[in-house]
Symmetry: C2
DNA sequence: GTCTATAAAGCGATAGAC
DNA sequence: GTCTATCGCTTTATAGAC
């Protein structure tokens, strides 16, 4: 009784199609990606794609869902660190992830298609922003329990903290614009950490 | 010598085309909008569109640029208000703007096309996020001058403040997901204002 | 400038052989 | 399952009359 997994069986060609489709969809967008292009990139014929996926929509959905499922966890923070160091560590991990080319591409294409494919928007939200909020909320909860911060609502604090990381710097990266001189990831993180620590200092 | 404006002359049909194209592009996205659809909505023939705009790309660019130029100013805040009330007022204006259907659509389509049309991404950034940051930075600068807040870098503070407004609530709206019960615009604003006031309280 | 009509190309999807 | 070949449709863009 050892079923390794549910869902469609893994197949070399199927994986090649998904890999090629992922690159194409994330780089070019949904509409600008043709099934011919995916077939060529994957080294298969177009008919083979349709043997595995009933339509372009469903191929796109399979790509997005696969990526959502494989999204990494932010990992539990080192419990020996104080509030500042803990927040800095988690912020560095989060910002590095958010600013990665793959995450930015994913964000662009999912946002663009969100109204036409609501279930993909939901899957993206749950595996990305919602998950991050929960994990970072747990960290604030722990810092509160330790008495290092006084946060009445840890998830609201997480929301604020993440928001202060996703600002101008993120917007410029998302839009493909160069960063301003003097703006660095570390600087943004330090400022956000400092603001949180000051605002939620215990009385 | 009274030139009313530079650029292409205003024409009834031209404006009708731009209006129809704006609705279509913002609602359906760039690729999903056909020139036939724009022609029908505008009540003109497709050839007339091409008489005014050389290509679909340029029509799209004209739509985006027109909207960027007409983007409203957030207005100067009432100088008799204290820090909390000032920040609350400006946050309410900003969040209402950001969450409007037109602004969300604009954000979706520009982000989606940003890599393929870098000049549009730039125009959007300058007229939207950059402008907001400057105006809100000026408000923090004024609050600092008045001694109500101690902000060493007003534009960095503006960045943080805006970031705390554009969080989970904004993301859900952007993705077309329903809002969580209990999450309200006013609540988010109050929390953001409180966090800023606490973090930047004068010593 | 504005129209009707059409060109030329690309698209998603399928038929049928193997 | 996988291929080649092709269907049927939509697309952007243009030609030519008025």
């Amino acid at each position: 009784m050892s079923k390794p997994k549910t869902g469609p069986k893994p197949s070399a060609k199927r994986e090649a199609i998904l890999d090629a489709a992922q690159i194409a969809f994330l780089e070019e967008g949904y509409a600008a990606t043709s099934m011919d292009a995916v077939a060529t990139k994957a080294g298969v014929s177009k008919a083979t794609i349709y043997a595995h996926f009933d339509s372009k929509d469903l191929l796109f959905a399979a790509v997005i869902h696969r990526r959502c499922e494989s999204s990494e966890i932010y990992a539990t923070p080192d419990k020996t660190l104080d509030a500042r160091a803990t927040l800095k560590a988690v912020a560095t991990r989060l910002m590095t992830l958010l600013l990665s080319p793959e995450a930015l591409s994913m964000y662009r294409v999912v946002v663009a298609e969100s109204l036409r494919q609501p279930d993909l928007a939901r899957a993206f939200y749950e595996s990305g922003p919602a998950r991050g909020k929960i994990e970072i909320g747990a960290i604030f909860s722990e810092l509160h329990r330790r008495g290092e911060l006084a946060v009445s609502d840890p998830w609201q604090a997480a929301d604020q903290f993440v928001g202060m990381l996703r600002t101008d710097y993120f917007m410029r990266a998302l839009l493909g614009l160069a960063q301003k001189d003097g703006q660095t990831m570390d600087g943004i993180i330090d400022n956000a950490v400092e603001t949180m620590v000051r605002a939620y200092a215990p009385a």
